[in-house]
């Protein structure tokens, strides 16, 4: 009996939902681009956790494969995102996303 299986699946789902909601609220409410990036990361990892939990629950390795993929994509995304944020900061001296609104009608 795996130690992970001793914890009921419901708890994993609750935790994932909580983490995801915190991430989503952060994305919506915060204006600092770095925080935004971190919140996105939080959302991704909430999903990762869920994948891993279900993978164990169903005894199916597919979910863990997805986790590896998501981590790879997240790493790439952060690399690009941070590069953009660095350029933003050099240009405007701030990372407040609401100040960057010139691309409009």
């Amino acid at each position: 009996m795996n130690i992970l299986q001793t914890i009921p699946l419901n708890h994993y789902i609750m935790l994932s939902a909580l983490l995801f909601s915190i991430g989503a609220m952060g994305v919506l409410l915060r204006r600092n681009a770095i925080i935004l990036l971190m919140c996105v990361e939080l959302m991704l990892n909430a999903v990762n956790l869920l994948f891993a939990a279900f993978s164990v629950h169903h005894a199916d390795g597919g979910g863990q494969v997805m986790v590896i993929f998501i981590m790879t994509v997240a790493a790439a995304e952060v690399a690009v995102g941070l590069a953009i944020i660095v350029m933003m900061f050099r240009k405007a001296g701030t990372t407040d996303i609401n100040l960057f609104d010139t691309l409009k009608w």
Binding site: L28, I97, N98, L103, K104
Partner: protein, 625 residues
Amino acid sequence: MILLLIPLFPLFGFLINGWLNKSMPKGLVGWVASLSVLASFGISVYLFIQLLSGANEFQFTVFDWMAAGSFQVDFGFMVDRLTAIMLLVVTGVGFLIHVYSIGYMNDDEDYPRFMAYMNLFVFFMLLLVLGDNFIMMFAGWEGVGLCSYLLIGFWFKNDNYNEAANKAFIMNRIGDLGFLLGLFLIYQTFGSFNFKEVMGMASTYPRYDSTITAITLLLFVGAMGKSAQIPLYTWLPDAMAGPTPVSALIHAATMVTAGVYMVVRSNVLYALAPFSSEFVAVIGLATALFAATIGLKQNDIKKVLAYSTVSQLGYMFVAAGVGAYSTAIFHLVTHAFFKALLFLCSGSVIHAMYGEQDIRNMGGLKKYLPITHLTFLIGTLAISGVPVFAGFFSKDEILAMTYSHSFLMFTLLAFGSVITAVYMFRLYWLTFYGEFRGTKHQLEHLHESPKVMTVPLMVLAVLSAVGGFIGLPEIFHAPHFLYNFLEPVAAGAGHHVSHTFEYVLIFTSIVVLAIIIYSTRNYYVVKGTLPESDAEEKGIARILSRKYFVDELYAMLFRKPLDVISGLGYRFVELGIITKTVDGIQEGINTAANGLRYLQTGRAGSYLFIMVIGFLALMIYAIIL
């Protein structure tokens, strides 16, 4: 197989000159164009000789053109005796006019385009006469109409010329509608378009058959358009806007005679429909007289010749109408010679006068243009019907044939040829005799045209002088070559009139012509009377010089009502309905877009917010439903 080559040569000439256009060396353009027609002429002569030595006809089917169920049209060529005569005229006279064009059009900036169009015209004309079915004929018929349009509007920078081109095209469309309906009726009746099959089946029909009458009448409507007969003749005088070689080739020698050719080609049908034949003769007679009287008072050298062409075409239709089909072709041939000659001479005169066409500003040109003068004189003698010249024989034959048909028609027609002689000699005396009335500048530069123009004139002059000998009247005890040659395909009425009548006819025509020549000379040269200026004209002269106000009448009857209808359509349908609908849709989209574009705030925050809302909405939707 050799038949295919005849139209192919001019087609290649057209393609070469048309594609390479101005990148062709200028000297080569004329050669390509002329030699391609000469090659066709060579083959035509070869075929003609074959026919003379007993061959009956040649037939060659290139491919199946259209086939749908029982409907079948071949792209087939046929040369019988009638076609052979037409081929010789089209390619022979066509070649001379091409050579002449080398000199006449050489200075024009669009010279290669001109030559290409001319070749294209010859191609379509050959298609018209070579086709072995009505559809081929119709294809050529439309093709020559197109080329006529292109060449009338050749100098398209002048709006008047474009209007003349449009007029020719539209008038021809009216005629073509009749022609097309005739074709449909032919197919419905006989189930075939092939000349031989149709004619073969038609001969089983009784005379006075109403279907045949309808077919022939409809076909003749087509001929009215193409051959400029009342009431569709008004385009031809306006068509003189084109360069003069075009007037000579298309609007005198070949295209306008297509209607006559078509009637003669369908002579079996016309012979079965006496009413149609009578109608053809009456229209021809009316046109002959009507146009001749207008010709009396025209002052533009080309307009006189144009009305004379209309009038002469009327003569041909009278001949065809009274059943003398070979006579119609005879006059077609001699007319091609002398009218092409006259037009080319007028071109030479216009060339020398720097584009001047008004005979009131000419006069005394005999001294400066000796060759043109002499050839023009021969042409004038030929068209007036002075004995031994070409027109004498053909016109006398028409008169004789008409005499045996109806005395009234004969009298009117004879009167018409008197008018012909009067207006032609009026033109001749005013142009070449008397004092020079042009500007000083023109006088200093008067010159005879180059050899490349005068040689075709001389060849045509010789043909106009001796061309009549292909159809000698019986009293000369020589065989009537043309009648005998055409007998298998288009014999029509025999040409037997009493010898006494022939003698009387010849004698009176000589006397009358002598009087006309003497009195017109007296009036225009000795007394030096000049046509009055447009403003001074009054009474009949004014009516004649304004062409009986037919153009104005047509404008009032057809153009004005159309203008009114289209004006109403524009105001209510176009502006009221169509424009409003289209503009309304456009304005609606514009307003909506103007409102919606504020959604694009440019802030990443608001986009994220909307995205999350959207996801939530999707989730709720998925859960609830």
